[in-house]
């Protein structure tokens, strides 16, 4: 079984309230060196055999249609996952 990783992040110019909430909580635990947090999404897409170029193309299309909304999010990368 092969796996493909798709990473999606909110666009940099957009307010990211979830990331902001996390950023606000970190100093309460003593982590005061982080000046900002942005929170995105990571998808693992599994295929039956080895990952092919066609699988990667399909994953890229899925990333651009269902997995992200191009108005508010960017697809950061679509890559084959390393073997565990």
């Amino acid at each position: 079984m092969g796996r493909i990783i798709v990473e999606v992040m909110p666009k940099p110019e957009l307010l990211d309230p979830q990331g902001k909430a996390v950023a606000g909580a970190l100093p309460r635990l003593g982590f005061d060196q982080f000046t900002a947090v942005r929170q995105g999404k990571l998808f693992e897409l599994t295929v039956a055999g080895d990952v092919t170029e066609a699988d990667l193309d399909a994953a890229g299309q899925a990333a651009g249609t269902l997995l992200s909304n191009p108005i508010i999010e960017d697809v950061i990368r679509v890559v084959e996952a390393e073997q565990r």
């Binding site: 909110p10 307010l15 309230p17 979830q18 902001k20 909430a21 997995l67 108005i71 508010i72």
Partner: protein, 235 residues
């Protein structure tokens, strides 16, 4: 105004489908239940995508509902001119479907908000607002966690220039929406989406507080009167 059939789509996680059906009935129309899994519009004259949390808001609000079997038919019907209203989660579905521009993101203050909300009606030519007077200020309930309307500046400029901002928040922006926008329409004026809930302000005794006393507000009823009027005048 009998004979107008208004379909209300139920997705897994829809909450306000029955309230929307009640609003249609109180206004004199026939409410027709539509099911997300059936690609069948059952001969309706207009469609409401109700509020709630379709598919648990997983992935993004409205993102999975947009690909439900019924939505292909809804998108085709909307492009063909059928009146379609998206309320709250329904607005999010319309944006994810690209029937309306922009997107809804988490409220800027990060909190769920629930209150009676004043809106100014800025476009009274749409299928869903023709019973209002231009500039009329109405009060309907608002309840959302992801109600911040955003779009590219060029898109916002175009919406304003073309008169497609249908509703603007009055008395404070509750969720960080760009330019206080509460609801918009498409080029043709048949598709309207808004975050607040007109279907909860249609019957005295159960609505927001109004000038006549607590819970007397029925401003939302005009949405449903508008669409019945539009459907019957087109028939």
């Amino acid at each position: 105004m009998t004979g107008a059939r208004v379909g209300i789509v139920t997705f897994p996680g829809s909450l306000d489908d029955r309230d929307a059906a009640r609003a249609v009935r109180l206004s004199g129309g026939d409410a027709v239940p539509l099911w997300h899994g059936e690609a069948d519009l059952k001969g309706v004259d207009a469609i409401i995508l109700p509020g709630g949390f379709s598919y648990g808001d997983y992935l993004r609000a409205g993102a999975i509902a947009r690909f439900a079997p019924v939505m292909d038919r809804v998108v085709d019907a909307a492009r063909g001119g059928m009146p379609v209203l998206g309320i709250c989660n329904g607005f999010q579905v319309l944006c994810e479907s690209h029937l309306l521009p922009g997107a809804l993101i988490r409220n800027d203050h990060q909190l769920f908000i629930c209150r009676d909300q004043q809106l100014r009606v800025e476009n009274t030519d749409t299928a869903w607002t023709n019973a209002f007077t231009p500039g009329q200020v109405i009060t309907v309930p608002l309840k959302n966690g992801e109600g911040g309307f955003i779009a590219a500046d060029a898109t916002l400029d175009a919406l304003e220039a073309e008169g497609r901002v249908v509703f603007r928040y009055v008395g404070g922006n509750p969720n960080g929406s760009a330019r206080d926008i509460a609801g918009i329409t498409n080029e043709a004026g048949n598709v309207v989406g808004l975050m607040p809930h007109p279907e909860h302000a249609v019957e005295a005794g159960y609505g927001p507080d109004g000038p006549l006393g607590p819970r007397t507000g029925t401003d939302g009823a005009e949405f449903f009167v508008s669409v019945l009027r539009r459907v019957l005048s087109a028939a």
